[in-house]
């Protein structure tokens, strides 16, 4: 049962973006549309799984004092691999939109955080599951942010026009409402993630209050 738990905890209960608040920089930078967010998520899933697996294999060989530099070298190698692969196989437009954020996965706190907190203490199988779960949680959070930003900022989802009257006048002369372009720009990203965090904090407070009311009723 614990294997399932290690896998699912990253997706919701310990979501790296909304709960642990790690790796905020690429989260905001790559979520101006869903395609970019999903590609970034895939890169992080791969890096997390590979690094967790390798670090978990060599965890008994690395001396404690120099473990951080060792981890960083391992992470940097996998990030280089994913960087070169994405350059080779992805459309150039997406690769350029992700830009320096692919090599910057090296300093993404999620990777080093999971290596230190999980892979250094657990076996290979659990570490890979943990990496996969955390990566999927990260991708999910990215897509949640990106869908709001792409819809409000551009009126589209996955580059597909959803509501025909919600677009700019240039695209459709009969448009009623224009998209709010600032949401696909940096300033909007802060507002959207702020909104999501407010929502989650509100849900958490409400749950705690309900539990308290429940225990009071019982006593």
């Amino acid at each position: 049962m614990s294997a399932t738990k290690e896998f699912t905890k990253g997706i919701w209960a310990e979501n790296p973006v909304f709960v642990i608040m790690l790796g905020i920089c690429p989260t905001l930078a790559t979520t101006s549309n869903i395609t970019n967010a999903f590609c970034m998520g895939l890169a992080v899933i791969f890096t997390l799984m590979a690094c967790n697996a390798v670090i978990s294999i060599v965890r008994r060989i690395i001396p404690g004092e120099i473990r951080i530099p060792c981890y960083i070298v391992i992470i940097a190698s996998f990030v280089t691999i994913i960087d070169l692969c994405m350059h080779a196989f992805l459309p150039l437009a997406i690769y350029e939109a992700l830009g320096i954020f692919i090599p910057l996965i090296v300093v993404n706190c999620i990777i080093l955080g999971r290596a230190e907190a999980f892979a250094a203490k657990n076996n290979v199988w659990l570490s890979i599951l943990d990496g996969l779960g955390m990566g999927i949680g990260f991708t999910l959070a990215l897509c949640m942010l990106a869908s709001v930003r792409e819809f409000i900022g551009n009126g589209t989802l996955l580059n597909y026009q959803i509501i025909s009257v919600f677009t700019s006048k240039a695209n459709n002369p009969n448009a009623w409402v224009e998209p709010i372009g600032v949401f696909s720009q940096p300033a909007g990203a802060f507002l959207v993630i702020g909104g999501y965090l407010t929502l989650f904090q509100y849900l958490k407070i409400r749950r705690v209050q309900k539990e308290q009311a429940h225990t009071q009723k019982q006593s």
Binding site: M21, C25, H87, I100, C109, Q185, I193, T198, Q201
Partner: protein
């Protein structure tokens, strides 16, 4: 070298393409250290100091060793190792020769290795990506200038944010907004304000 290039790099890095507000680099220390004015000032100074030195070191590494075929393969690993070693060296050097400065900045130094502004500027200085200025690939001075002004921009926004958050401590905020959410909203509004600088250059 023209003066307009210098001006566009400084203005661009400090105000228009500010690390925190428009490039989304260094958000973790930005949210973590902006609760108090003192610590924000210490962190800001430490970042300016390290980013200037590290952009010099990584540029030299790039210009003399990584411009050939090895570049794409070794860049990431080389840069992160240089930065980690440099931060360690600065820490030891400061402890020995400048105890007063070490007292003020010391605790922020280890945190800086994982600050993505430092690695970010190393890539910006040497990348072909459209978001970067190509001039910094050829000129040592411009690369260091880009690092330094990026650090200044980071410190500026960090100090502004610390001022705002010190005020927020004493105001009544609805419970769901307390803490990080309201900090993100403030950053967002600040980013709106900084968008006004776009027409400057």
């Amino acid at each position: 070298m023209e003066l307009s290039v210098v001006f566009s790099i400084v203005g661009g890095m400090v105000l228009i393409n500010n690390f925190v507000l428009s490039r989304f680099l260094g958000l973790c220390p930005f949210l973590g250290v902006s609760k108090k004015m003192d610590s924000a000032f210490g962190m800001g100074m430490a970042v300016i100091f390290v980013i200037t030195l590290s952009s010099a070191a990584t540029w030299i590494m790039y210009y003399y060793f990584l411009r050939g075929d090895l570049g794409p393969v070794l860049k990431t690993a080389c840069y992160i190792l240089i930065i980690a070693a440099l931060v360690q060296l600065i820490e030891m050097f400061m402890k020995k020769t400048m105890p007063a400065l070490y007292q003020a900045l010391g605790i922020y130094l280890p945190l800086i290795t994982t600050n993505c502004t430092i690695l970010g500027v190393a890539f910006l200085n040497t990348t072909d990506a459209p978001m970067a200025t190509k001039a910094t690939q050829e000129s040592f001075f411009l690369a260091v200038l880009q690092g330094f002004s990026g650090g200044v921009g980071f410190a500026l926004v960090l100090l502004l944010m610390a001022g705002i958050r010190e005020r927020l401590e004493t105001t009544a905020i609805p419970k769901p907004l307390q803490g990080i959410p309201i900090a993100f909203f403030c950053t967002g509004l600040m980013a709106f304000a900084f968008m006004g600088f776009i027409g400057l250059i």
